[in-house]
């Protein structure tokens, strides 16, 4: 067993984990964060994406023991229980989800992308959006709704920026 300290969505905890435990399982079982979904457990589907020290990381390809002293953000830290982050709202209005299994992964992968585009003050073309989300698999939407949700979220951020 290994002693680690994790800061997860603002809560810091010291815990003892077996070396082989995946970060995804620790987040789900020790922190009760069931928004961390596990799809393939081999890095192909992107469902388990969380932010590790601020950057997207596949929590199924990460051992919790490697994360000692690090900061983790899961989808639960985004938009609260109402899921009212602009990207989450856009996913709803643009049919960016149906069953919802892949959605937390998409949201965590795409939030930094939306922020980056907003900071650069530009609307990416569809090709660039598809590249940004290429590590996430969705079996319901056919992806077009997700592309549109990303465009809408960036568009609204840009509009707000222009007004401010």
């Amino acid at each position: 067993m290994i002693e680690i300290t994790l800061e997860v969505n603002g809560e810091t905890r010291r815990l003892s984990v077996e070396s082989r435990r995946l970060l995804a399982d620790v987040l789900r079982q020790e922190f009760n964060l069931s928004g961390v979904h596990i799809g393939c457990a081999q890095g192909a589907c992107g469902c388990c994406t969380v932010h590790l020290d601020g950057k997207p990381r596949l929590s199924c390809l990460t051992f919790a023991a490697q994360c000692d002293g690090m900061s983790v953000r899961t989808v639960e830290s985004v938009g609260g229980v109402d899921a009212d982050h602009p990207l989450q709202k856009a996913f709803r209005s643009e049919h960016g989800l149906q069953c919802g299994y892949c959605t937390p992964g998409f949201i965590m992968t795409l939030i930094p992308f939306v922020e980056e585009m907003t900071a650069e003050g530009r609307m990416p073309d569809d090709e660039e959006i598809r590249e940004a989300m290429s590590g996430n698999i969705c079996r319901c939407t056919g992806y077009q709704g997700i592309v549109e949700a990303v465009r809408k979220a960036i568009g609204e951020n840009l509009k707000e920026g222009a007004q401010a």
Partner: protein, 289 residues
């Protein structure tokens, strides 16, 4: 699935990492980005008893000196896309990096990890072979250098001995009048490639003076194509018609025949990919000169 049991060790220095790897022998594996090793462990295709975490060791510099560009083993794939030493010297390499996995994988995966994993159609093994790379390997007993063309022995097999670890890769700096391109075909973007091809050219007076061609998809590792490379010397950059030489090369290939593609399809595909990479490399050479 979940990995089998192992002991985790966080190395604080290269010396300590090498001492641990020597102690554990073939029961030990270094772990860096984990983008290839952890899937293998989750599937229980790999069951190391000890993991030595080398993420804290630095080894992530890209430096030029002595006619080579040295890439530390822990350089993450996305780093190249903003690195002038790579962008300016190795256009084929940059093409290839875009084809590695997905953004999240490129942020975490390392060159040392990809080379040590030796996936048959991975981009970095092919690119290191294409660019005449040398792989620098360390163990508690010292360092050795291995040409990339002699490093890969088969699918997921390399010449690395127990206790050894990749510390860097060196690519010779190409001359100013050079060019290159890389193309690959996969069923989905970022998925494992069915086949891929990289070409580099040196040129003068509108003609190719030296060519290198590497391709994957024809066997258990990527390969160079020495006869084709020779045949491409003297080729006009403006209308690079190399169909005969490419056909002579693909005729010698004996690619796998399986559920994802037939041998004939792969042979034809590799020919097409060589042609496309060559054509892009030639137009890039024309633009630059």
């Amino acid at each position: 699935m979940r990995p089998s049991e192992f002991e985790y060790h966080k190395a604080e220095s290269l010396e300590q990492a090498l001492a641990l790897l020597q102690e554990f022998g073939d029961e030990g594996r270094p772990i860096a980005g984990g983008q290839s090793l952890v899937p293998m462990m989750n599937l229980r295709l790999a069951r190391p008893a000890h993991l030595v975490d080398i993420n804290g060791l630095g080894l992530d510099a890209i430096e030029e000196g002595g006619g080579v560009i040295r890439i530390g083993a822990l350089v993450r794939h996305e780093t190249y896309l903003a690195e002038p030493l790579i962008i300016d010297n190795f256009p084929a390499f940059i093409d290839g990096v875009h084809a590695i996995g997905h953004p999240t994988i490129r942020r975490n995966g390392t060159i040392g990890g990809s080379l040590a994993h030796s996936d048959p159609t991975a981009e970095l093994p092919l690119l290191c072979m294409l660019h005449d790379g040398e792989i620098i390997v360390a163990s508690a007993g010292g360092e050795r250098r291995i040409l990339a063309t002699q490093f890969f022995e088969g699918a997921y097999m390399t010449v690395l001995e127990p206790g050894e670890m990749i510390v860097a890769v060196e690519l010779p700096v190409p001359p100013a009048s050079s060019s290159g391109a890389f193309v690959e075909m996969a069923e989905r973007r970022g998925d494992f490639a069915i086949a891929a091809c990289g070409v580099t050219l040196e040129h003068a007076g509108g003609r190719v003076t030296r060519a290198a061609v590497a391709c994957s998809g024809a066997g258990q590792t990527a390969m160079r194509a020495p006869q084709l490379e020779e045949a491409l010397e003297g080729l006009e950059l403006e209308c690079p018609d190399a169909a005969t030489a490419i056909a002579a090369f693909t005729d010698t290939l004996n690619p796998p025949d399986d559920h994802s593609a037939s041998a004939d399809y792969r042979r034809a595909l590799i020919g097409q990919l060589v042609e496309r990479a060559l054509s892009v490399a030639c137009s890039r050479a024309m633009e630059a000169s």
